[in-house]
């Protein structure tokens, strides 16, 4: 067999390094998916969270909120819940990574000839895949309540954007986790971004009744923007601008938080 000693002398080329980065990311995703399956309580919490929000808002607030929505409330609510599902899933990236960092296996990863970026990338991708499951479950329950996608293309677009924004927030939370290195701290800190983003948004209700300053925030913050785009796509309403703004938000968040998360992870030893 080829021992590692045969590889040690020459520096890898850039192409080789990118190849390894991809290979390591696939490997770490595989590992995190196995871990996800083996922690059924975490998995079911993440997956059922969306359905919980859907039923809660549909039954408890549905009647009151419906006025002003302009469409049947279930048509308004379900695409927004896709985004909420993805966002709460992103929160688990942070708690999971913080727990990982406290285990010795992270030290072993650091001693291996692997891309350290892959440690976080694998987890964010595994979490995004889990979010897809959660969103499909929300869509299925939504169907039972009368929700319908206008088109297959719209359905794919809406789900892709919801998963995308959750993925971006996964990186934000990974950056927080690598910085504070405690699952409890990550959980506590998430109150400060998760709830404002969730509640001061157009996901559950249009922003018209909010005070002016809040309206501006609620209209332009990423969860609303993506929620609006997902809603338009699901309902077959032309959504060009909303989709463009959604993509801008997702890319902007990734541009900021991917380097921050990787840098914080490298420092956290």
């Amino acid at each position: 067999m080829t021992t590692t000693a045969d590889l040690d002398r020459q520096e890898p080329t850039a192409t080789q390094q990118i190849g390894w980065l991809v290979q390591d990311t696939v490997t770490m995703t595989w590992r995190d998916l196995i871990r996800t399956q083996r922690q059924p309580e975490m998995l079911s919490f993440a997956v059922v969270m969306g359905v919980f929000f859907l039923l809660l808002f549909y039954w408890v607030f549905g009647g009151a909120i419906a006025a002003g929505a302009g469409v049947d409330y279930i048509q308004y609510l379900v695409p927004g819940i896709f985004v909420i599902t993805s966002l709460t899933g992103a929160q688990q990236t942070g708690t999971g990574l913080a727990a990982d960092l406290s285990e010795g296996v992270t030290d072993r990863f650091r001693s291996l000839p692997m891309s350290q970026f892959a440690v976080i990338a694998g987890r964010t991708i595994a979490d995004a895949l889990r979010n897809v499951v959660g969103i499909l479950l929300v869509a299925a329950v939504g169907y039972l309540l009368g929700f319908r996608f206008a088109s297959v293309g719209g359905a794919i677009g809406a789900i892709a954007l919801a998963v995308g924004v959750g993925y971006a927030f996964s990186w934000m939370n990974a950056a927080i986790a690598a910085q504070v290195r405690s699952a409890e701290m990550v959980g506590m800190l998430s109150m400060f971004w998760l709830f404002p983003l969730m509640l001061a948004s157009t996901v559950f209700t249009p922003s018209e009744q909010m005070p002016g300053w809040l309206q501006a925030f609620a209209k332009w913050q990423p969860i609303s923007v993506v929620g609006d785009a997902a809603r338009d796509l699901s309902n077959g309403i032309p959504a060009g601008d909303a989709v463009a703004w959604s993509i801008i938000w997702i890319v902007a968040l990734l541009v900021v938080f991917v380097p921050l998360a990787v840098a914080a992870y490298r420092r956290s030893r």
């Binding site: 040690d8 390591d24 196995i34 083996r38 285990e103 296996v105 001693s111």
Partner: protein, 326 residues
């Protein structure tokens, strides 16, 4: 059963695999490792021996790229650790308290995971995983999740995981701490065999017996500083001196007793909070008699005394003359 890949050419075994020169590392004001230099050779076990907090783990972490080297330099099979950490990671394996396995994965999955991360091609990797499971008798628990393992099973997987890429240099950070004597002896013979096949093994331990049984050369460190180094036999000669332990009846006599002992040409170290003096003997029973007579003549009341074989503590006392710590 043997694996040809683990045997190396005889000249490789003479090579110095790990070179550490003037390694230092501080955490805040604490100097964890200070100007530490040593070599480790292929085909040998090099033991870093020292008590808890001596700087052993910090040293291993610097050599395995887990911690940046503050000053000094190190190379592994000729590769500079500070300048080419990625290349170093390709030639080392690490196990023990500085590394671990994934608790949610089975032994087989863990080996598969680390094999993939070393970029071992699939066919080779599968063969290697099967070989390691058989060779190190992990079969009974290979398909159970690691969090269900006993301490010994976990430790064994930990060591085996560091062998997945057959690295020429293996770092084991307190590999047997917390293991029962039987499992420990088993692991010792496995580590010994790896070295005999040409691997350079660097292991840390706080057990004198372990360093003695397993190591071809021993580096004794304490408070980040190298206190002694040499082959096990060299050091043992020093360690075979007996120790006279004296309890004075009155604490106030402690200083006087030390002076009296110095007066007959012996060294002593005192426990400042207690009433104990340790006297490492260079002249056997005759010297112990001289010390006791001296104390008697100086009017110092002795509550108790005993002559005993040295422990690791005594080695440190003898080498560091800092009796105050215990």
């Amino acid at each position: 059963m043997t694996d040809a890949s683990e045997r190396r050419s005889p000249n490789a075994e003479d090579a110095v695999a790990v070179v550490a020169r003037g390694l230092s590392k501080s955490f805040g004001k604490t100097r964890a490792v200070s100007d530490l230099s040593f070599d480790a050779r292929s085909g040998e076990v090099t033991g870093l021996l020292g008590p808890n907090g001596a700087g052993k783990t910090t040293t291993i972490k610097m050599l395995t790229t887990l911690l940046p080297i503050e000053s000094g330099n190190a190379s592994i099979v000729g590769i500079d650790v500070a300048r080419r950490p990625d290349a170093v990671r390709r030639v080392i394996g690490l196990a023990g308290q500085s590394a671990a396995v994934d608790e949610k994965l089975t032994a087989r999955e863990n080996l598969e995971l680390f094999g993939r991360l070393y970029k071992i091609p699939r066919a080779e990797r599968m063969k290697r995983v099967d070989y390691l499971i058989e060779r190190f008798e992990l079969g009974d628990f290979a398909d159970r999740v690691a969090e269900t393992y006993s301490g010994g099973q976990r430790r064994r997987l930990d060591v085996v995981a560091s062998l997945i890429a057959a690295p020429p240099v293996l770092f084991l950070d307190e590999p047997t701490t917390g293991l029962d004597p039987h499992t420990r002896t088993e692991l010792w013979s496995e580590i010994r065999e790896l070295a005999d096949r040409g691997t350079a093994v660097v292991l840390t331990t706080q057990y004198l017996e372990e360093a003695d049984r397993l190591s071809d050369s021993i580096v004794i460190i304490d408070e980040g500083v190298m206190k002694a180094s040499g082959t096990s036999a060299d050091l043992k000669r020093d360690l075979e001196r007996e120790v006279l332990e004296i309890h004075v009846a009155d604490r106030k006599d402690l200083t006087g007793a030390a002076a009296s002992i110095a007066g007959v040409g012996a060294e002593s170290s005192a426990d400042p909070e207690g009433t104990r003096l340790q006297v490492p003997l260079t002249g056997g029973a005759r010297q112990s008699l001289a010390v006791l007579r001296g104390l008697d003549a100086d009017g110092i009341a002795i509550a108790d005394f005993q002559l005993r074989k040295p422990t690791l503590d005594d080695v440190f006392l003898a080498m560091t003359s800092r009796g105050g710590r215990r």
